[in-house]
Symmetry: D2
């Protein structure tokens, strides 16, 4: 199969107010025949350059009301236009431009990049199969400075980790969920709702938090909350790349360190991942 | 000279509420004698490991009330403790953790990383010289989708760029200013004030913006506004790494493109830099 | 499942001659029960820290005769030691240290890092299943300045790419092959042989090369040559991330440019991938 | 001032044999008047696009016989063509394409990227001043697995580092030297000679090496050897970004580890730098 990445900006105006989407689109295609590979016969090959043109033309004609709708548009275009396409996947990712505010007043044409979790989506379709839509958030970095521990784990002669009931929980989240064969969803609204679920499940109530006995359990809490609150989500995958912090031992330096100064442990780092769906 | 980079986390509590600073500190030292280089005589060398310990001990003892105060503490410690140090510079940069909010309520111990401009500072001192403090913001990405042009530039036989009076202005800013020999400044407050000046000078009034005839002029506007509004700033340097966007020519594709779809031009990219001080 | 990354150096001596392997190991584990996720019950969980210790102990005890053997050792250890492990995968990647030579004489203890294609391998096993070994090379950048074209491709109203019969072929290769259920292979020797096949199939005969009608066909040639020359390989996957170069149009500048000056096209970039096995 | 980066490929043929240079050029200009900044008057500004065109035209017309000559050409062009230029600096860096060999036979048009130290150069000139040329190598990673120690350093209450007489010496080198006001040098030949000096001074004799009492002393040895062997070099700056490795303590795991397994220490990392010239 082949894959192509295109970056571009889509502007539009409503009166004098300007709106901007900057996206990176990656289109994957698989053809019905491998003759290009086996025989060097290019007659069915759709060049990267053509794919780029199509994506830009679709952006011009349709705009980007939501990343998901734009990914769906791309899949539909390739499936209906090219009978040699056996499979198409469109991945769309957003540069997180946010409107600038001055003293609370929104600016009509100025934006700031705020990458606190990147929105992305995927639409994919096999010929004669359903069009399936995924959405997600990545590069979302969160930290809890307390209410986290790791105890009661399996121990043997290679175990050196002490049990801890008050550690830092910190990591980068990748969450991706499936909408199934969706139609007429308000993708922008649902995405914001899911982002809030993730933050809420990670952090717990604002006044006291909620104890996390492991990275794994926190991953599961996020999945459970999203599935319970957002009926459009069929399956949700969460990957957490943890950053470990060690309390610095300052005994040699004549000081006690009551979890005040910690250093990140860069090796080893771990990640845990889980995919959870509805019954 | 030698340079060392240390990353760590500093936590503190006020009641049950938790606060966090994650910083990267880089300490530069130059010794009074080059004998370590010329003769392999290490007797004056302060090992990286010792520097790390000192930085962590200072963080433990003093906390990090502001990046600037912490950088000053480091300089003071090295100058007063080690007579073999001829010059010290402490660079401190912050990981932009922000307190999480749920429905507007701040969480007592959960944080999200929001890298919309990274705060940093530097303090430096030569033996018998003044301690000078710099602060700055980097990796700040801003965009204006209109009210920007570039006309009337120098032309010769190698000129192919057309004049434009409605282009995109987009780039990454690095701003660094000097406080001179400061004392008792509220560094956190001043930094926020300067950040707002930068955004305001870049964007112009929220309802209409202000026309920018060049990247260079925008850089100058930022400098002028900061110097006029913030008396503590002595000199300000601004570097702007521009991203150019070209309106896609869609004539071949049978479409007109009225600045709706643009692609980034990755080569060449340019930057402009200027340093401006008071008379 | 969980994943952990550990970096370390393994030294050994033969007489006064020193040998070094620097590797990055990533161990993936899946347990027989998801109780850690669902119930927060950690009693079966093998902490990252324990996995790190095991990998370091295996390196100390067994050395790293080849990346593949080390990956096999890791899989065997986890499968035989922990009955709660349902699946294990060990990925091992090498930092490409090469012995320094002075005037052709090898140095007994000095090395230079030469990253002209990174060697890696994977071993994986499900409980009660076979242990399967993969090996590969990644980040291998190759270029042919002639003997490459792209013609006869599919055209429609979105096609703007001209046909070309003398373009640059340039890209980064990722190749990964399976040895099936291997035993007693000389993995180091086979890996070098496959690397040479890849280079030979890419470049063609040294005096004239071989015409490539497309990236896809070059990918296929590499796969065919490896499968024909190296009987231990069962299946081979090749991914080629192309870099496109455009001949600069210098007509406006009063010059003809006979494929002398070219600029890389950063957007769009494409990749093609293919997996080929034996019948 | 302004800065612009351009990447391109320069091909040429001798008979059927093909040669390639891929370079990244960064041109810095400072104008005689700051009116572009202060008044938004662009009449003296040379657009990025024009600079790109000039660099490409020079590459087309002159070829790239050496990076240094090309940088000199760029400086000369800007100084002689534009009277508004007060200062010009041209930085040129090479993508390390090497000719492929099959069984020792060089291939006429195929290349592999071998980034074992990146060659770069700089030429700079102020109006009415001399043209000065620098050259250098960066991203050169070297390791000695023995014959290195660090003892006799300064100690106080913050010292926790033990003395070591058999540690790993590993790091990334940046070396930059000045040729002064050069003329008619064989830059390609001198560069290779200096690279060999660096490797030789780092490693010592192939059969036994030479003991390094510190990173600093190794930096100095490199500088001394280059200055003594290469008369064209006026001044040489060396920066060494060290990677520290710790022998893993395996006592808790019931094993002795005789410098066989080591882990990189990612924080703190240090660097030492020194500039040395002739009297």
């Amino acid at each position: 199969y082949g894959k192509n990445t295109i970056k571009f900006l889509r502007l539009h105006k409503e009166g004098k107010k300007q709106f901007v989407k900057e996206v990176e689109v990656c289109a994957h295609l698989r053809l019905t025949s491998p003759q290009e590979y086996l025989e060097g016969n290019n007659s069915l090959v759709i060049p990267t350059d053509t794919i780029k043109n199509i994506v830009l033309v679709l952006a011009k004609k349709n705009g980007i009301s939501s990343l998901e709708q734009f990914a769906i548009d791309i899949c539909n275009h390739f499936m209906t236009t090219f009978c040699q396409v056996a499979y198409v996947k469109a991945y769309v990712q957003e540069v997180p431009w946010q409107r600038l505010h001055e003293d609370g007043v929104p600016h009509i044409h100025s934006f700031i990049c705020v990458p606190d979790g990147i929105r992305f989506c995927e639409a994919e379709q096999c010929r004669n199969g359903p069009l399936i839509v995924f959405a997600g958030i990545k590069d979302l970095k969160l930290m809890k400075t307390t209410q986290s521990g790791f105890e009661g784990f399996y121990k043997n002669e290679h175990t050196t980790l002490p049990e801890r009931h008050d550690r830092i929980l910190c990591g980068e989240f990748f969450c991706k969920w499936s909408y199934g064969e969706c139609k007429d969803f308000d993708f922008n609204c649902i995405w914001k709702q899911i982002r809030e679920c993730i933050l809420e499940a990670f952090a717990g109530p604002p006044d006291c938090g909620e104890y996390s006995p492991s990275y794994q359990k926190t991953v599961n809490c996020i999945q459970m909350l999203v599935l319970s609150r957002v009926p459009q989500v069929q399956v949700i995958e969460v990957v957490l790349n943890n950053t470990f912090y060690n309390v610095v031992d300052m005994k040699n330096l004549g000081l006690t360190n009551d979890k005040e100064v910690l250093v990140p442990v860069e090796t080893p780092y771990g990640s845990c991942a889980c995919t959870l769906g509805r019954k």
